[in-house]
C-alpha cells in the first residue's frame, strides 16, 4: 500500500533507450522531426484575443455561447470543446509602496502621450494596478493522461510529439475529460449539427499546418510574439533568456511554468512565462499525470478483488456449507 507514489515513468522507461522525454520516439516513430511546441510569454500578451479568433477560423471551431461572464474582460471563461485557445485576464491591485494594501486613492492618468511608459518623470512612480494576460492552450504533455486513458485509441501522439484526437474514432466516453490534470480537453456540446458534438475536442497544435511546414494559426496571428512556436529545445533556451532578463529588471515573481522535464507530466510541449503563481492564471500548481499512480491502483484493485473472492468463499464456509 505504501509505494503508490512509485513512478510509472521512471527515467529510461522509454523503450527505445532515448529516455522518457522524447514522446514521438517513445510512441514508435523511428525518425521523427524535432519536437514542436509553444512558448507563451505572457509578459508581452496584450489580450487582443487574435489567437482565439485565428484558432476558431482555421480549425472551424464553432462559437461556444455568446454570454458575459461578469469577470474581468474574459468572456471565454476557459478551455473546452469549442475553445482551444483562451486568453485569461487578471486584474491585480498591487499595494502601492508605503501603503501596505487597501484600496489606493484614484490617480489622474492624464491624457495619453506618445512617450514610452514611465519615460515621463511625473508618472514614474510604481503603478498600483496591473493586468496579467495569458493565452492558455493544451499543454501537449510528455506524459499525457488524456492519451493514456483513451479506451479507443482516438487520441494519438503525432510525429511532432503533440497529442491529437481523431474525430472518426472517438466514441465520446469522456474519460479524457477528468483525466487531464490541466482541465483542457472536453466534450463538445453544441451547436446542434456540428459534426464533433459529443466528441472530445482540444488543440491539435494545428497538426495539419505543421504537416505542411507552417506554424499554428494562433502563433501566426499573435501580434506581439507572446505565442512563439518552434522546436521545443530552442524555445526552452529562449524562454530561459527572457526569464533572466525579466528577473534582472525587477519582475521577481516571474517564473517558467511547464518547461521542466522533471515535473509531474514529464514537461509540457506548451509552456509559459508567468508573472505570478500558476493558480492565479487558473493553472494547477503541481500537476501530475494521473496514470503515474496506476500500477499501485491496479494492485489495490487486485487485492480488493481477492478479498471479495475470499469473502464470498468464507460466507459459504461460515454458513456451514450452505443451509442456515
Amino acid at each position: 500500500m505504501s509505494s503508490l507514489g512509485r513512478s510509472f515513468f521512471s527515467p529510461g522507461s522509454g523503450g527505445t533507450g532515448t529516455g522518457p522525454f522524447d514522446p514521438a520516439r517513445d510512441a514508435g516513430y523511428t525518425d521523427p522531426p524535432p519536437r514542436k511546441g509553444f512558448f507563451t510569454d505572457t509578459s508581452v500578451c496584450i489580450g487582443c484575443k487574435a489567437c482565439e479568433v485565428a484558432c476558431k477560423e482555421w480549425n472551424a471551431v464553432p462559437e461556444d455561447g455568446i454570454a458575459l461572464t461578469g469577470m474581468s474582460y474574459d468572456n471565454t471563461g476557459g478551455l473546452g470543446g469549442s475553445t482551444w485557445r483562451h486568453v485569461a485576464f487578471i486584474e491585480q491591485e498591487l499595494p502601492a509602496p508605503g501603503q501596505g494594501g487597501g484600496r489606493p486613492d484614484t490617480v489622474d492618468l492624464g491624457m495619453p502621450t506618445a512617450t514610452l511608459p514611465g519615460a515621463d518623470p511625473e508618472h514614474r512612480e510604481h503603478a498600483d494596478f496591473r493586468w496579467l494576460m495569458e493565452s492558455d492552450v493544451c499543454k501537449h504533455c510528455t506524459h499525457a493522461a488524456c492519451l493514456d486513458v483513451c479506451p479507443t485509441g482516438a487520441l494519438f501522439r503525432t510525429e511532432f510529439g503533440t497529442v491529437v484526437v481523431q474525430d472518426d474514432i472517438c466514441n465520446g466516453c469522456g474519460y479524457c475529460v477528468p483525466a487531464c490534470p490541466y482541465g483542457v480537453i472536453d466534450r463538445r456540446d453544441g451547436p446542434a449539427g456540428d459534426p464533433a458534438v459529443g466528441l472530445a475536442q482540444k488543440c491539435t497544435l494545428c497538426y495539419d499546418r505543421l504537416s505542411d511546414g507552417m506554424e499554428p494559426a494562433c502563433a501566426k496571428a499573435c501580434p506581439t510574439q507572446s505565442i512563439q512556436f518552434g522546436d521545443l529545445d530552442e524555445l526552452r533556451e529562449r524562454a530561459q533568456g527572457r526569464l533572466d532578463m525579466l528577473v534582472e529588471s525587477g519582475e521577481t515573481t516571474a517564473q517558467l511554468y511547464g518547461h521542466d522535464p522533471g515535473n509531474g507530466v514529464g514537461g509540457t510541449g506548451a509552456f509559459f512565462l508567468l508573472l505570478d503563481e500558476p493558480e492565479v492564471y487558473g493553472l494547477p500548481p503541481d500537476p501530475v499525470v494521473t496514470t503515474k499512480d496506476l500500477p499501485g491502483m491496479w494492485r489495490q484493485a487486485a487485492l480488493a478483488a481477492a478479498a471479495l473472492l475470499g469473502g464470498a468463499a468464507a460466507a459459504f464456509i461460515g454458513a456451514g456449507g450452505g443451509r442456515r
Binding site: 486513458v149 482516438a154 469522456g174 472536453d186 487558473g282 503541481d286 478483488a305
Partner: protein, 337 residues
C-alpha cells in the same frame, strides 16, 4: 457567493464549521484562484456512470453468490443470484453505452487493449465476463422450460454448460466488481484520485453488501445463510474501508460531507448499517430479511452515487485542486512546475 467574492482569495468564504467536533485535517488554507473557476474539468458523466458502478458490483457479487450456491447445493439461491447477475450486467452495459457521447461507436472500445486505460481494461473484463454469465443464465432458464425443450440437443448442451459457465464467470466477477474503483481514481478529479488506496475495498464491500442484500430479497429464507454472511461482511468492509479512506484523503474528503454527496453519503451509511443489523437480528423473519436486504442494496447504490457526486463537486471547486498541490509543492521545497 459571487465570482467577485472568490476572485482573490477563493477559499476564504468556503471555510466550514465542522460538526461532531471533528479535527480539521489541515489548517484552513488561503488560496488563490482564477475568479473561483475550476482548474480541472469535472467528468461529463451523468447518473449512468454511478448506476453502472453499482450494477457492475451487484453483477460481479451475484455471480460469486450463484457459483457458491451451485457448489453448496442451494438451487433456489443459485437461480435468483444468476438472474440478478444477468439483469445487473445488462443494465450496467446499457448505462455504459447510454452515457457515451456517440453511443453508436461503442464498439470502438474493442479496437485497442490498453492497460493504462481502466475503461479499456474494464471493457475487456466485461467482454470476457458477459458470455460466461450469459451461459450460466441460459443454463438456469433452460431448467424452467418444458421437458421437450430441455431434452432437445441445445437444451441438453445449455443445461450442462450452465455450471462451468457460472464458475468461469465467478472467477472473472471479482475483477468486474473492483476495477470500477480504478476507473474513478485514475483521474485528476481530486476526491476520486485521493481515494486511490481504499476505494477498491469500499467498492467490493459495497458490492458484497448489495449482493447479499439481493440474495436476502430474492432467495428463500431456508437458503439465505451465505447471502446473509456476504451481506454483513460486505457492509462491515464497506463502512470500515470508507472510514479509513476519509481519514487518508485530507481536505478532498470534504465534498463527501457536503450537498448532494453529503446527503447520499449519510443515507448510504445509515442504510448499510441498518441493513446489516437487521440482517443479523431478523434472520428468522422473512419480512425482516427482505427489508434488510433492500436497505443494504439501496445503501450500496447510495455509496456509489455519493462518491460520484463528491468527485464532481471536488472538480468544480478549485480549492481541492490547488491547496493539496501547493502543499505538495511546498513540502518538496522546489518550485518546479
Amino acid at each position: 457567493m459571487t465570482e467577485q467574492d472568490v476572485r482573490r482569495r477563493g477559499g476564504g468564504k468556503r471555510r466550514r464549521r465542522r460538526g461532531r467536533g471533528e479535527q480539521a485535517m489541515v489548517p484552513d488554507a488561503e488560496f488563490t484562484s482564477y475568479y473561483g473557476r475550476p482548474v480541472v474539468k469535472a467528468s461529463p458523466w451523468q447518473a449512468d456512470i454511478p448506476a453502472y458502478l453499482f450494477l457492475g458490483g451487484l453483477a460481479g457479487g451475484s455471480s460469486l453468490l450463484a457459483a457458491g450456491a451451485d457448489l453448496a447445493g442451494l438451487p433456489r439461491q443459485r437461480r435468483s443470484a444468476r438472474l440478478v447477475a444477468s439483469g445487473a450486467i445488462a443494465g450496467s452495459l446499457y448505462a455504459l453505452i447510454h452515457d457515451l457521447g456517440r453511443p453508436a461507436r461503442f464498439h470502438h472500445m474493442l479496437r485497442v487493449a490498453k492497460v493504462t486505460s481502466p475503461m479499456s481494461v474494464g471493457t475487456w473484463i466485461l467482454s470476457a465476463y458477459g458470455p460466461f454469465n450469459a451461459l450460466a443464465t441460459a443454463g438456469e432458464l433452460i431448467g424452467l422450460m418444458p421437458e421437450s425443450v430441455r431434452r432437445s440437443r441445445i437444451g441438453r448442451t445449455l443445461g450442462v454448460a450452465g455450471r462451468p459457465g457460472g464458475m468461469v464467470a465467478a472467477l472473472i466477477a471479482p475483477a468486474v466488481a473492483s476495477y470500477t474503483a480504478v476507473l474513478l481514481t485514475d483521474t485528476a478529479t481530486p476526491t476520486w484520485h485521493a481515494a486511490k488506496r481504499e476505494l477498491p475495498f469500499v467498492f467490493v464491500g459495497s458490492a458484497a453488501a448489495a449482493t447479499g442484500g439481493m440474495g436476502l430479497v430474492a432467495g428463500p429464507l431456508g437458503e439465505s445463510g451465505p447471502a446473509r454472511n456476504l451481506a454483513v461482511g460486505g457492509a462491515v468492509l464497506e463502512l470500515g474501508a470508507s472510514r479509513i479512506m476519509q481519514h487518508s484523503m485530507g481536505i478532498t474528503a470534504e465534498p463527501l460531507h457536503q450537498g448532494t454527496a453529503g446527503n447520499l453519503h449519510t443515507a448510504a451509511t445509515t442504510l448499510t448499517t441498518a441493513g446489516a443489523v437487521g440482517a443479523v437480528a431478523g434472520q428468522r423473519s422473512r419480512i425482516a430479511s427482505v427489508l434488510s436486504g433492500l436497505a443494504l442494496t439501496a445503501g450500496s447504490a447510495c455509496t456509489r452515487f455519493a462518491i460520484f457526486h463528491a468527485g464532481q463537486a471536488s472538480a468544480h471547486d478549485p480549492r481541492y485542486t490547488v491547496v493539496p498541490q501547493r502543499e505538495r509543492r511546498e513540502a518538496r521545497g522546489a518550485s518546479t512546475s
